[in-house]
């Protein structure tokens, strides 16, 4: 009996709470708020908050055209794998300070899991065989490389700081980080962590491919880049993955740097976390979206590998010398 119960709870975790349903709603709301705020900043009225939901369900009803030159199986399977991996990442991230799936993955696994949704889009685009997709995926790959260095430095510095405090000198597992923060205050307050937090906030728009860094999906230049040949349900799933990614990355930031403010009750924590994520998106994604122009791909790369990496490196060096 216990097995059945625990597997039901396990299934509940996956499909309902921090899993698919919660991500769907949270992701859609955050993207809706993001679009509304960007519109407001341009003195426009902007779409209703539930606009991403309408977009998603409209796309569900549309016809899915598969180009003759496309490789059908990869073309249709890629979005599903991308979305599944995205939700899996969301499961591994502790809700502020209570880890949901204990002991399955750690920081490095998260770093590599973040690649899968981007890879799903890349292989979807390349399977469609369109030259726009080719250019799009080349830019997407360069964006991934660009965002990798700062993320690596941030994760290493977080691991080192928590490791120092925990005595083992190194701690990658997310649940220990969450436990540490629950015990003695969120990491954001430590001196060595502030540059890492700033770097992480600068990386989020790049990682999710939002406006100033969306050379990969530039609808004006290369007709939506990798998604040029997608229509109907697969396109809807890609848009959903993009929405959930915004939520997941901000949730990751909250889990890594603001762990201390958890109250212990999981549902309440989830609301607090969602609120913080909305605030972070407004400041670091919408404001940046409304204010900047799209960067060329090599400017994006140079920006990430020099400016943001330098900030992250400061925190790594500080963490290294035991601050």
């Amino acid at each position: 009996m216990a097995i059945v119960y625990s597997s039901l709870v396990y299934l509940g975790y996956i499909l309902i709470f921090p899993g698919f349903l919660f991500c769907f709603v949270a992701g859609m709301l955050i993207t809706g708020i993001d679009r509304k705020i960007v519109a407001k900043m341009q003195k426009r009225v902007g779409p209703p908050i539930l606009q991403p939901m309408y977009d998603f369900f409209k796309l569900m009803g549309k016809e899915t055209i598969i180009p003759a030159a496309a490789n059908k199986t990869v073309f249709l399977a890629a979005p599903i794998v991308g979305l599944a991996a995205m939700v899996v990442i969301q499961l591994f991230i502790p809700v502020i300070s209570t880890p949901i799936l204990y002991g399955t993955a750690d920081l490095i696994v998260i770093l590599y899991l973040l690649l899968i949704p981007a890879l799903a889009e890349i292989y979807g685009g390349s399977a469609s065989g369109s030259p726009y997709a080719g250019v799009g995926l080349s830019r997407e790959m360069v964006t991934i490389i660009a965002c990798e260095l700062p993320l690596v430095l941030i994760f290493l510095s977080v691991a080192k700081t928590v490791g120092n405090a925990m005595g083992t000198g190194l701690c990658f597992s997310l649940s220990d980080i969450a436990a540490y923060q629950a015990a003695n205050g969120s990491l954001m307050l430590k001196a060595s962590m502030i540059p890492a937090a700033i770097a992480m906030l600068l990386v989020i728009p790049g990682e999710t491919g939002n406006h100033p860094f969306d050379a990969a999906e530039a609808e004006t230049e290369i007709c939506e880049g990798m998604l040029a040949e997608y229509s109907g349900a697969p396109l809807g799933i890609y848009k959903l993955t993009h929405a959930i990614k915004t939520f997941t990355l901000t949730a990751l930031f909250v889990a890594l740097f603001l762990g201390g403010i958890g109250t212990g009750i999981v549902l309440l924590d989830a609301l607090i976390e969602f609120a913080i994520c909305v605030v972070l998106t407004i400041i670091f994604i919408s404001l940046v979206h409304a204010v900047t122009a799209r960067l060329k791909i090599e400017q994006l790369f140079k920006y990430y590998w020099t400016a943001v990496s330098a900030i992250a490196l400061i925190s790594l060096v500080l963490a290294w010398f035991g601050m």
Binding site: I37, A39, K40, M41, Q42, K43, R44, V45, G46, L287, V288, A290, V291, T292, Y303, A307
Partner: protein, 206 residues
């Protein structure tokens, strides 16, 4: 990466949007906006000028002989019209007017056609104009306008400058300054009234 518009963006965030909510609050077009064509068939004298001047060829006329004259239906095809207002300028009887209504959405075939029909009374063959009205007949006390609306010249005022001939679109007038000759060709004349208007000496009466 300097972010020049941050202050402005944040200010906008908390100020009212500059959108004037079109479908909820109707918005009027500007004063002399050239929108949907309004055609008043009663005023129309079927002078065909509007067709000739229309750049886009948007105006088409169907003339059906009916017992008391010809039934003329003139249709303005808004989907070809460039709304340049030339036809309204040329229409002397001001039958065509471009209104301020900009709402011109065509869903079915006929939505964008504005048409009007009127019956033009058949022309009774008037007695031939007194042919003897020679140029040298001077002392006619008051030149009375002819009944069929064609122009009549008042030799006393006329200086034979030839402007009326130049302006006449139908080339119905021939004027010779030396022999002081002013001749009207009845069937070419459509009695549009341009010569009367343009004559500097007001020597033409209709």
């Amino acid at each position: 990466m300097d972010l020049p518009f941050v202050r402005e963006a944040v200010k906008n965030l908390f100020s009212r949007s500059s959108c004037d909510m079109y479908p909820l609050k109707p918005s009027e077009a500007a004063e002399q906006y050239r929108g949907r064509i309004e055609y008043d068939p009663t005023k129309c004298i079927n002078c065909h000028f509007c067709e000739r001047v229309c750049a886009g060829g948007a105006i088409s006329v169907v003339e059906v002989p009916v017992e008391e004259g010809t039934q003329i239906t003139r249709t303005f095809d808004l989907s070809t019209c460039t709304f340049c207002n030339t036809c309204a300028d040329f229409c002397n009887t001001h039958a065509i007017k471009l209104t301020k209504d900009y709402h011109m959405i065509g869903l079915k075939e006929g939505d964008l056609l504005v048409s009007g029909t009127f019956v033009k009374a058949a022309k009774k063959k008037p007695a031939p104009p007194p042919a003897e009205a020679k140029p040298e007949e001077k002392a006619a006390p008051a030149i009375k306008p002819r009944d069929d609306g064609k122009p009549v010249q008042d030799p006393s005022k006329c200086v034979y400058c030839g402007i009326c001939a130049k302006k006449c679109l139908g080339e119905a007038l021939t004027v010779d300054r030396k022999e002081k000759l002013w001749k009207l060709d009845e069937d070419k004349c459509v009695s549009c009234g341009t010569c009367e208007e343009v004559c500097p000496k007001k020597a033409i009466i209709m």
